[in-house]
Symmetry: C2
Subunit: 424 residues, 2 copies
C-alpha cells in the first residue's frame, strides 16, 4: 500500500541560546538557535515525516511561512510516486514556476525546501525501517544518480560521470559500513572557540574536549587581530603542536583584508581558514586561496546550491567543502554536492553546530564515506555539544567520533518536551 | 521637524495575468504578476512611504511575511536618521545579525528588503517634493558614495574610486537632465515576444509597437529550436534588418546546450542573448560569452546582489547589465551596481516588465545617465505595456522613450481602485 501525504503542520521552534553566548562569532553576536520544523501527516495514522531547517532566530517565522507554501504542494501525493526517481521530489519543491521567482534555489524558499524535502526522506526511511544514510547506501549507483538534479551541472559533471564515480566503490560499501559501526566517523568541534568565551573558559573547554577524544578544534576570529592572536596562542599551547586548529572568520573580511589577516595568523598553522569573506564571492575566495596557499580555504555553510559549489570547485576557490544539510535543498542536493566534491577531489567536512545539524550531517558524511569518496582523509564532520537532548534520536559520540545512527528516519524529530517548551 | 516612522501595513497584491499568457516564457509559463507592497506610516498623517517588490504569484505571501519582519525594524526611526548617510538604511535592513542568516542578501529576505528600502526612499523623496531620481541627482558625489555599502566590493571598487567616477560628470548633470526632459530615455519592449502569442499576434504587436516608436524588440526563446527559428524569422522580417532584436532564454539551458542553441540562432543577429543559463552561474556565463562572441550576454534580473554583479563584471561573464530594482536591495544597491558597471565599462539596461518595475527602472536609468555613466550608448531600459493603470504615477512613454517622472516619490503607489480589487 502506498503512503499518501494528507496534511502537514509547521512549527517555529526557538531556543534562547543568546542568553549564554553559545554560538557567538564575529558576524553573529547573539544567535537564538531555531528550527523551522515540519511534520508531514499521512493516511497511516502512526506514520509521519519530520524535517527542519536551521536558523539563528529572527527570520525563522519567514521560513515557517515558506514551509507552508511548499508543503501544500505535497498534499495528496504518495511517497512512492515522489521517490521512485527521488529527483521528482526535488524538482517538485524547487521547480514550481511561480515560487522559483523568490529564489531560485536560494534564501528562505530553499531553506524551507530543505525542511520539506528532508521530511519526505525521513518518512520514506521510516517506511523502510532504516536510517536515511542506510536507505542511500542500499541504493544502486543508478538510483543514487536518479536522486540528483543535474540541471546546470553538466558542464562539470554528467550523470554518466557520476555513475562511474559511484561504481568505483560499490563493491566495498559493506566493509566501510562495518568499519563505521565499529569506530564511527571523525568529527571536529567548535564548542571551545566561540568569541563570547573567556580565556579561562576556552582552556577549560579544550582540556575537557581533548580528554573526550577530539584532536581538531576550531575557533572564531575576525573581530580583533590582537585578540585572535592571543586566543590562537592559548589554543595552540593547550592543545599541543599536533592538534589541528582551524579558524573561522564568518565572512567579516573584504578580500584584501582577508589576505592580510590570514597572513598574520599563519604562524599558528591553521589547518584551514573558514568563510574569509562573502559566501557569494567565488572569485574573491579564489583570490584569497591563491594568496595564502598552502593554507586551505573552507566554505559552504551559506553556499546555497549545487551551482555555486560547482563554481567554487571549478576554479579552485575552496579546498574544503562545508556543505550544510539545511542550506542546500535537502538530501537530494547534498548528494549532488558529494558527487561534485568527489569529481574535483575535494574533501567534504559538513557544517554543523546549531540545532539538528549534527543529527543531519552524520548521515551526509556516512554516505560520503560509504558510497562516494570512500575516504576519511582530511575529512571531519563538525560537531557542537549542545541542544542534542531535544531530539528523540540524538547523536552518539564516542572518542570524538559520530557513531552511525540506527533508528529509522533522519534523526531530527523533536521531543514532546522540547515542543511544549520551545515551539510557537 | 524630523519625520518618524510609526507603523506600517503590508499587502499581498496579485493580478491574474496568467489568464491571458502575458509574460509567458520558457521558464515561467503562467505568471500572475504580483507585488508584495508596504506602506510606511509616519507621525505626519498626510505623509506615507510606498514600496514594493515584484513576484510572479505564489511566493508573494512569503515576501509579505518577510516585509513584516523587516519593517518592524523601522518603527520609531526618523527618516532623517536613516538618510543622513543613506547606507545606514541599507545596513539596518540587510545587516540584522539574525535575519541575515536566511539570506544573506538574497532570496525572499532581500526582495522584502528592497520593498522596505524603496518605501523609505519614496518617503524621503516625498518629504523633499521630488521624484527619487531627482533626489539622487541633487546629491553630491560624496553623498552618492555614502549611500552605498562597499562591503565585499573593495577588491573591485573602493569609495575613492567611486568618487572619481562620479566627479567626472558632476558639472554636466544639469544639461543631461534638460535633455531627458526633452526627449526622454530610450527603451526596448518585450510586449511582442511572449511565447504564448501566435505568429499573427506577434506580427500585429510588432507593427503596432514600431509605429509607436520602438526599434528594439525582445522575444522569448528556449522551448523549441524550430519554433525559435520561426519566430526570430517572423520578427526579423516584420522589423527589418535595422531593428535590434534581442532573445531571452530565461535560464533554460545548461552551458553546453546554451552554446549550441545560440550558435543556431546567430544568423538572426541578436543584439544580445539574455539569461542563457542559471543566474548563479558566473563561470558558466563566462564560458558561454567566450564561445559565442561577438554576441553579447545579458543577465541580471535574478542577480541577487552587488557581490554577484561584481564577479560577473570582473570575469567578463556579462556584457549587458540587467539589474532589477526589486531583486537588488533597493535604491542603495542599485546605486552600487551602477557604479560597478561604470567601473567595468558595461552598459546598464535594467530589467522591467511585470508590475511596478517599469515605474522603478526609469529612475535607475535616469540616475545612470545623469550621474554615473553619462552615456546612452548601447543603453535601453526594458518596457512592457501593461498594468500601468494601477499606479498613481504611471510611466509616460513618448516615441518609445521613458519621459522623466515629475511627481514626488518612487512612482509605485497603487491606486485605491487597484487595492480594492487586487489586494489581499
Amino acid at each position: 500500500m502506498p503512503t499518501r501525504i494528507t496534511a502537514f503542520e509547521a512549527f517555529d521552534i526557538r531556543f534562547p541560546t543568546s542568553q549564554h553566548l553559545d554560538g557567538s562569532d564575529a558576524m553573529n553576536p547573539d544567535p537564538d538557535y531555531s528550527a523551522a520544523y515540519v511534520v508531514l501527516r499521512t493516511d497511516s495514522a502512526d506514520r509521519c515525516g519530520y524535517g527542519m531547517t536551521f536558523t539563528i532566530g529572527r527570520g525563522n517565522e519567514i521560513c515557517v511561512a515558506a514551509i507552508r507554501s511548499l508543503a501544500t504542494l505535497l498534499i495528496g501525493q504518495t511517497v512512492e510516486s515522489l521517490m521512485t526517481e527521488p529527483v521528482t521530489l526535488y524538482r517538485k519543491l524547487t521547480g514550481d514556476s511561480q515560487l522559483r521567482w523568490v529564489g531560485p534555489e536560494k534564501g528562505v524558499i530553499h531553506l524551507a525546501a530543505a525542511a520539506v524535502i528532508n521530511a519526505v526522506w525521513d518518512l520514506w526511511a521510516r517506511i523502510q525501517h532504516k536510517p536515511v544514510w542506510q536507505v542511500i547506501c542500499d541504493m544502486s549507483p543508478a538510483q543514487f544518480v536518479a536522486s540528483v538534479d543535474f540541471r546546470y551541472l553538466t558542464d562539470a559533471l554528467t550523470p554518466n560521470q557520476a555513475l562511474e564515480l559511484l561504481d568505483r566503490h560499490t563493491a566495498t560499501r559493506a566493509q566501510r559500513i562495518e568499519e563505521l559501526r565499529g569506530i564511527g566517523y571523525p568529527s571536529y568541534t567548535t564548542s571551545a572557540g566561540w568569541l563570547g568565551y573567556s580565556d579561562e573558559a576556552l582552556k577549560q573547554k579544550c582540556t575537557d574536549l581533548q580528554a573526550r577524544g577530539w584532536s581538531h578544534f576550531k575557533i572564531k576570529v575576525g573581530r580583533d587581530l590582537d585578540d585572535d592572536r592571543r586566543r590562537c596562542s592559548v589554543l595552540r599551547r593547550e592543545m599541543g603542536e599536533e592538534a589541528h586548529m582551524m579558524i573561522d572568520a564568518n565572512q567579516v573580511w573584504d578580500v584584501p583584508q582577508a589576505i592580510e589577516w590570514i597572513r598574520e595568523l599563519a604562524p599558528f598553522r591553521p589547518w584551514f581558514v573558514e568563510e574569509p569573506t562573502s559566501p557569494d564571492d567565488i572569485l574573491g575566495h579564489r583570490a584569497i586561496a591563491e594568496a595564502v596557499r598552502p593554507i586551505r580555504i573552507a566554505t559552504g555553510e551559506m553556499c546555497h546550491n549545487r551551482i555555486m559549489f560547482k563554481q567554487f570547485m571549478q576554479c579552485g576557490a575552496l579546498q574544503v567543502c562545508q556543505l550544510d544539510c539545511c542550506r542546500l535543498g535537502g538530501v537530494n542536493e547534498v548528494m549532488a554536492v558529494l558527487l561534485l566534491a568527489a569529481k574535483f577531489g575535494i574533501p567534504v567536512c559538513p557544517h554543523a553546530g546549531g540545532v539538528g545539524l549534527c543529527e543531519y550531517v552524520q548521515h551526509a558524511s556516512i554516505v560520503d564515506y560509504v558510497c562516494v569518496s570512500a575516504s576519511m582523509e582530511d575529512r571531519v564532520a563538525e560537531y557542537s555539544d549542545h541542544l542534542h537532548e531535544h531530539v528523540y534520536d540524538p547523536v552518539v559520540m564516542q572518542h570524538g567520533r559520530y557513531m552511525p545512527p540506527m533508528k529509522a528516519g533522519y534523526s531530527v524529530q523533536f521531543t514532546e518536551a522540547a515542543m511544549q517548551q520551545f515551539a510557537r
